[in-house]
């Protein structure tokens, strides 16, 4: 599953067409994502699903993007 991750100044936000989670820390974000995926039956019990989070570089101000155009991408394993 693929999601876009960004930061709104207060929270990390991960979203795609069917899911949106936010949290002040990445640790909490992963926990909330797991809960939502379990509740939405997006991951079956005992199954491990890889979630690819690509950082939305538009979060970084445009004047900085000329210096660096990548923040981070991450993969999180969600266990059902």
């Amino acid at each position: 599953m693929e999601m876009i991750i960004s930061h709104n100044g207060r929270d990390w936000v991960a979203e795609n067409e069917s899911l949106r989670v936010s949290a002040p820390t990445l640790e909490l974000l992963d926990i909330r994502l797991t809960e939502k995926m379990r509740a939405g039956h997006m991951v079956a019990r005992g199954q491990v699903k890889k979630v690819f989070m690509a950082f939305n570089n538009a979060t970084i101000p445009q004047w900085i993007r000329q210096y660096a155009q990548h923040y981070f991408n991450r993969i999180v394993e969600v266990r059902g």
Binding site: L26, D30, A54, I64, Y67, Q69, F72, V78
Partner: protein, 526 residues
């Protein structure tokens, strides 16, 4: 708006880093056509020193203050380019406006604002280039008499750089609304990365240029650039091992900054400025605001370094006794590619002028070698940042902030790799191959080398200098010193000050000395 790096080819048409490669290689390719007898780059504008009243038997007429480089170097269209004169300013403007506007369009910038901003910045830059080449600023002691002068500042081409920076800083600090409008086109990193691709042509062309004097000198120059390449790599690795832990410890132990802030600041101050701060921020999963704050500091401090260090290295130490130590130290000490390459070129101008004056013209160094030594270390630093950030990400994700289930991807190294260096090395190695595949200065291959020179000079001299000038102007425009006074930076400003002047710069000079001491620049004085 969403912009993500998902695939290895993400950003090829939408990121400035890639557009530096496309612009640089396009004009490099046009230059190469001279080998086939087609000169498509001779229109490149270049300034000459001038005075209002030319003395009898002297030189420096205003009417010749700008000329098309093809009028001097073209083998096939010299007469046409001779006719351009000052019109070469317009030719250069039109062609680069089209080229950069295509880039701006693909990068989804506000095209109208970019076009207007670019036009203003271009003509301001040209005007500054003109003023900076008045013989009072630029002529050195050995040729004052040609311009009817008894005294001049002897700054060489450095005068134009300093003036461009001053004018940019005046706009950036006293006309903030105007600066904000121009910011759509004031892109020092894009300009300098493109200039560094052009510098690749310069590094590859240096042996060809030297071979015109003698094949032996051509070989010496090829060897020197190779040594700079290796010494730059080793010096960079050593610097990484010392700089980062040192600044991290200063930030943590003395200034008690939080761990993530110290890591981001450590990279920003010690490695390569904004790109390192952003890469490290991402690697340690810091909130983007941390990288943004550090970046704002880096940009201002880098300009302060750019103002202070070239003069210091020229007139205090090491001066003309160890010019490549000075260049390499500059590469390690000055953050951001733009400020470093600009400082390196300023140092190049200062030291070449100084050695010529000190030896009364008996020693002349080819233009660009000192700049190359400054940029070479920076290029290595830039290339390593992806790897360094990857290591930091592993340490943070798997050890410090351990989150079960999270994986760090190896593709992160590629996404953080500075793409413009691909253009730099391509241009360098192709010209170097042309040198070695055509006799390396032997008489039978000289006709090819001469043809290559006709296409290389407008790129490595004309375009490169123009883009350096644009960098100086743009750096000034986007630098707002009042940011340093903003209280929210607090301790960060002091960490930066202490780490930079009491740790980074002295250590950079020592490392540069260890790896570059004794390297000499070939003398090209006739």
């Amino acid at each position: 708006m969403t912009s993500v790096n998902r695939k290895w080819y993400s950003g090829m048409l939408t990121q400035e880093d890639w557009w530096a490669v496309w612009l640089g290689l396009f004009f490099f390719g046009l230059g190469l056509l001279s080998i086939a007898g087609v000169d498509l780059v001779g229109w490149a504008v270049y300034p000459k020193k001038w005075v209002f009243n030319v003395p009898e038997g002297g030189t420096g007429s205003i009417s010749h203050a700008f000329y098309a480089l093809g009028s001097k170097y073209s083998l096939t269209a010299k007469a046409f380019y001779k006719g351009l004169g000052w019109w070469s300013i317009i030719w250069t403007y039109v062609i680069f406006t089209i080229a950069t506007c295509i880039g701006a369009y693909c990068m989804k910038w506000d095209l109208k604002r970019y076009f207007v901003g670019w036009t203003i910045i271009y003509f301001l830059t040209i005007a500054t280039w003109f003023v900076g080449h008045h013989a009072f600023f630029a002529a050195n002691k050995t040729n004052w008499h040609k311009y009817g002068l008894n005294f001049a500042l002897s700054l060489g081409g450095g005068a134009s750089f300093i003036l461009a920076l001053i004018i940019g800083l005046i706009i950036g600090n006293f006309f903030k609304g105007f600066a904000s409008y121009l910011s759509e086109a004031a892109k020092p990193e894009w300009f300098i990365k493109t200039a560094i691709v052009f510098l690749g042509v310069k590094v590859g062309y240096l042996p060809i240029k030297a071979a015109a004097t003698s094949a032996k000198l051509g070989h010496q120059m090829a060897d020197l650039t190779g040594h700079l390449f290796l010494a730059g790599a080793v010096a960079t690795i050593v610097a990484y091992m010392i700089f980062w832990p040192g600044v991290y410890l200063i930030a943590r132990r003395i200034f008690k900054l939080p761990r993530k802030t110290a890591a981001v600041l450590g990279s920003g101050i010690s490695i390569c400025g904004v790109s390192a701060a952003v890469a490290t921020g991402g690697a340690v999963r810091a909130k983007p605001v941390v990288s943004i704050m550090v970046s704002a500091l880096v940009v201002v401090w880098a300009v302060i370094e750019l103002v202070v260090l070239p003069g210091f290295f020229t007139h205090v130490w090491p001066g003309t006794s160890d010019p490549l130590v000075a260049g390499s130290a500059m590469g390690m000490a000055v953050k951001t590619d733009g400020a470093d390459a600009a400082a390196g070129d300023l140092l190049d101008e200062f030291l070449r002028n100084k050695i010529e004056v000190e030896t009364n013209g008996r020693v002349k160094w080819p233009e660009g070698v000192i700049t190359t030594s400054a940029v070479m270390t920076k290029v290595w630093i830039d290339m390593f940042i992806g790897l360094w950030a990857f290591v930091l990400a592993m340490v943070w994700v798997y050890k410090i902030d351990r989150r079960p289930g999270e994986t760090v991807m190896a593709s992160e190294v590629w996404h953080r790799f500075p793409k413009f260096v691909l253009g730099y090395f391509t241009a360098w190695f192709i010209y170097l191959a042309i040198f070695f595949l055509n006799g390396a200065g032997a008489p039978e291959g000289m006709h090819v080398l001469k043809a290559a020179k006709a296409g290389a000079v407008p790129v490595e001299k004309g375009f490169r200098k123009l883009f350096f000038m644009l960098t100086f102007m743009s750096l000034g425009i986007i630098t707002d010193f009042s940011k340093l006074a903003e209280a929210k930076f607090g301790r960060m400003v002091w960490v930066y000050f202490v780490a930079l002047f009491l740790f980074i710069i002295p250590v950079a000079v020592i490392i540069a000395y260890l790896f570059h001491h004794g390297m000499t620049i070939p003398n090209i004085a006739g």
